[in-house]
Amino acid sequence: MDLMKSVSVSASGMAAQSTRMQMIAENIANANSIETPEGGPYRRKVILFKAALDQSSGLHEVKVQRISKDYSKPLKQVYDPTHELADANGFVAHPNVSTFLENIDMREASRAYEANMSAIESAKEMMVRSLDLLR
């Protein structure tokens, strides 16, 4: 068990949070994309983390299990009969992205990233202290 292990655990946390940040950026960028190559409007993406046990140290690293599309939130139906993608009733389906929600998620991701950063700082400080014993 050494401090490098705990640094690598924190690094796995940072990698996971930055993947999450990328996904949030994608969601916000596509908040108004009503057409996608697969057809239909853009659907919000959600990320699922998974704790992965590192057998040699007994510590839990974090991994991204999957990024999936969010079907639990309905698409926003906007009444716009003149739009070329409007359906028979004159509604256009908009992405189920809420920029407000994405903003909150983004805050959480960046706070978690910072927290991992300070865990690394503290491990580093401990290593420096151990090295100082040699002086």
Binding site: M1, K5, S6, F49, H60, S118, A119, S122, M126
Partner: protein, 126 residues
């Protein structure tokens, strides 16, 4: 003889602090993992494991490890959020600070102890 015990005690404590640092780092990394429960290690259980290694009752048994990597791990099953996670980032940050302070104390004690030993040895020559 006391001196030897002191440095051994310091080593145990530092080992524990390093282990705990890793466990807390794991909690921080898994702050948003669903169904992850916050863990912690306590000093007493880790120490008692180190003091009394598992006995080998048969020659064909695998030898018990005197030092288990993670001794007494406690799991927080009380403050579980709706996503099944029980990590509280502020608490973990506090723990990190505490570990760092304690580690600093241990290294300073060790340095002081070494300088006292040096003094004891060198005063012979004067």
């Amino acid at each position: 003889m006391d001196g030897i015990n002191l440095s051994q005690a310091l080593r145990h404590r530092m080992d524990y602090l390093i282990t705990r640092q890793g466990v807390v780092s794991g909690n921080v990394a898994n702050a948003s993992t669903p169904n992850y429960l916050a863990r912690d290690v306590d000093f007493d259980s880790l120490l008692s494991k180190k003091m009394a290694p598992m006995k080998q009752t048969d020659a064909q048994h695998m030898p018990g490890k005197a030092q288990s990597a993670l001794g007494g791990v406690t799991v927080d099953k009380v403050n579980i959020r709706h996503d099944g996670n029980s990590v509280k980032l502020d608490e973990e940050m506090l723990k990190l600070q505490e570990i760092q302070m304690n580690y600093r104390l241990m290294t300073q004690l060790k340095a002081k102890h070494a300088s006292m030993q040096r003094m004891a040895v060198s005063s012979n020559n004067r």
